[in-house]
């Protein structure tokens, strides 16, 4: 990975809506080169998608987020991948990680209500043969997500004009 590619990824991660023209200006590169590079990074699945950070708390729409720790029995020759795939294919599962330490999979789920999340856990997750146990944590408040402070941008604390 070149320094330019790394910088481009950082720029996109920070604001994926930036135009190719502006990204090129920031990098001091030609627009066409940046456009091609983005396409290449998308094709290689280095850039896997473009998401929007939404604070659902501010919308009045009911939404709960849960972190679920899952302990599973790995399968011979397939390890965790098979069971992980069976679990992450559920549309309710937003994020799935394989984790080191006291449990194996960490899932992030978004549901309309506590009830909906617990139904998923009891009816879909816990019944999987390889699932040994689950532990569900509900998110009470998001302070910071993906490097963004949810409370909003801090105002400029500097004086307006200085030498």
């Amino acid at each position: 990975m070149t320094k330019m590619e790394k910088q481009l990824l950082q720029i996109m991660e920070n604001n994926s809506r930036i135009s190719v023209k502006e990204a090129a200006a920031l990098l001091g590169e030609k627009e066409i080169d940046v456009a091609n590079k983005l396409k290449e990074l998308e094709e290689k699945n280095v850039i896997c998608g473009y998401n929007t950070m939404i604070d659902w708390d501010k919308t009045g729409i009911d939404m709960v987020t849960a972190l679920i720790e899952v302990r599973v029995t790995p399968q011979r020759s397939k390890g965790f991948d098979d069971i992980a795939e069976r679990i992450y294919k559920y549309p309710e599962v937003n994020t799935a990680y394989l984790i080191s330490g006291g449990f194996d999979l960490m899932l992030i789920l978004e549901g309309k209500s506590l009830k909906q999340v617990s139904e998923f856990v009891t009816n879909k997750l816990a019944v999987e043969e390889e699932v040994l146990s689950t532990k569900t944590h509900f998110i009470l408040k998001r302070y910071k997500d993906h490097g963004t402070v949810m409370a909003g941008r801090e105002h400029d604390k500097r004086e307006k004009v200085t030498a």
């Binding site: 720029i11 502006e22 920031l26 001091g28 500097r158 004086e159 307006k160 004009v161 200085t162 030498a163």
Partner: protein
């Protein structure tokens, strides 16, 4: 009230052009400013923690006049690893209250009445007043746009008289963003040595150099270490402006006198800031790189936008300013900046705040988010398009 209440010398000093502009801007709460001369980053968290920890441990006393020995040793290490220069932590390094104190006391330590101090302009606002207060005579050089605001040997030669004593080298430069590369400095050293000049090298923006090579100090060149006082600090490199911490490195005989003035006026630089600075200079290299890369992106972004609106600007390779030329509009810098503020609510400092040779130029600071830069520069663009249309009509 007595007629001689105030010092004539002080009363005669011109108030800073920045101050005047600040007063106008501060009444306009909805203005977007590109007028700030300081980083937009908060001080790195580990540095702030070090300051906080020192307070928790009750390190709330004076330090030695010169500053904490550990900090002076770290500064020596830093000078060695960045520029290959070594300074004696006891005799050749002094911790000051910002780079500004270093400028002041260096001039006071060296000036006798009538000694001339050569000051290339546009440059930082304090050199001329500090020279006057020190009893010296300021001799300014008008740097030229066509030289990318770098000091030329002929310009220096022209400014020299038998009374010349000190040359101030303010590079990377505020407000122009100009740098002096090794080849530019090399052309000056024969003249400096032949005329027995001493150099006050203000290197506060040294870490913000975008030449592809790191900053070069004139003290690195042959015969120059012994006639140069380097003034630097933590404000710009580590985003620590409010901590007020700087340092001076130079020959022991000059530093000894500077220390004396510092001892009587200041006692010592703020203790908390000194502890934070140890952390910054020891473990802050990565922060500096991150900030420099980020400024560099924004520098290119702003230059690109200026180019698109057809506003001529040389490529500045240091600090966080660009210095575009607005002479085509037939207004003074101040008129331009005032109208821009009134009509588009964008605050940009007129070049004349940094010396007469800033006439016809603006200082745009790019220590702002890309969003603010985009918005402010689009407003600048509509403003100049309107001016051009007026001119055609």
């Amino acid at each position: 009230m007595r007629k001689d209440l105030l010092s004539e010398k002080t009363v005669a000093l011109k108030p800073s052009g920045i101050r005047k502009f600040f007063d106008i801007v501060s009444e306009m709460t909805d203005a977007i400013s590109l007028g700030v001369g300081e980083p937009d980053f908060d001080t790195p968290w580990h540095v702030r923690k070090a300051g906080i920890a020192s307070l928790e441990q009750g390190k709330t006393f004076y330090t030695s006049n010169s500053g904490l020995k550990e900090l002076r040793q770290e500064i020596d290490n830093y000078m060695q690893r960045t520029m290959g220069l070594s300074y004696d932590a006891d005799k050749e390094i002094l911790i000051t209250v910002g780079g500004s104190e270093g400028i002041d006391i260096m001039l006071r330590a060296m000036c006798n009445p009538g000694d001339e101090v050569i000051i290339p302009e546009p440059s930082y606002v304090s050199y001329v007043p500090c020279t006057i207060m020190a009893g010296g005579t300021p001799v300014t050089i008008d740097l030229q746009n066509e030289n990318n605001f770098r000091l030329q040997p002929e310009e220096l030669e022209k400014a020299i008289t038998p009374r010349s004593k000190i040359l101030i080298l303010p590079f990377p430069n505020n407000p122009t963003g100009a740098v002096m590369e090794r080849k530019d400095l090399e052309k000056l050293i024969d003249i400096i040595i032949k005329n027995d000049l001493y150099v006050l090298s203000d290197e506060i923006y040294a870490e913000l150099t975008y030449t592809g090579n790191s900053h070069v100090s004139i003290a690195q060149l042959p015969g120059m270490r012994e006639r140069t006082v380097i003034v630097n600090g933590f404000s710009k490199a580590y985003a620590m402006t409010g901590w007020r911490l700087g340092y001076a490195c130079g020959p022991a005989e000059i530093l000894e006198q500077m220390r004396k003035i510092h001892q009587y006026c200041i006692m010592c630089a703020p203790t908390t800031a000194q502890y934070a600075a140890i952390e910054a200079i020891k473990n802050g290299d990565e922060d500096v790189v991150m900030m420099r890369d980020s400024y560099n992106e924004r520098r290119r972004f702003v230059l690109h936008m200026l180019q698109e609106m057809g506003l001529p600007c040389f490529e500045p390779l240091g600090a966080f300013y660009v210095f575009p030329c607005v002479k085509e509009f037939g207004m003074t810098s101040e008129e331009f900046a005032t109208r821009l503020l009134e009509e588009e609510k964008v605050a940009i400092v007129p070049g004349t705040a940094f010396g007469d040779s800033g006439e016809g130029f603006l200082r745009i600071s790019y220590a702002y988010s890309v969003e603010s830069l985009r918005e402010a520069l689009s407003r600048l663009r509509s403003f100049i398009e309107r001016l051009r249309a007026e001119k055609r009509a």
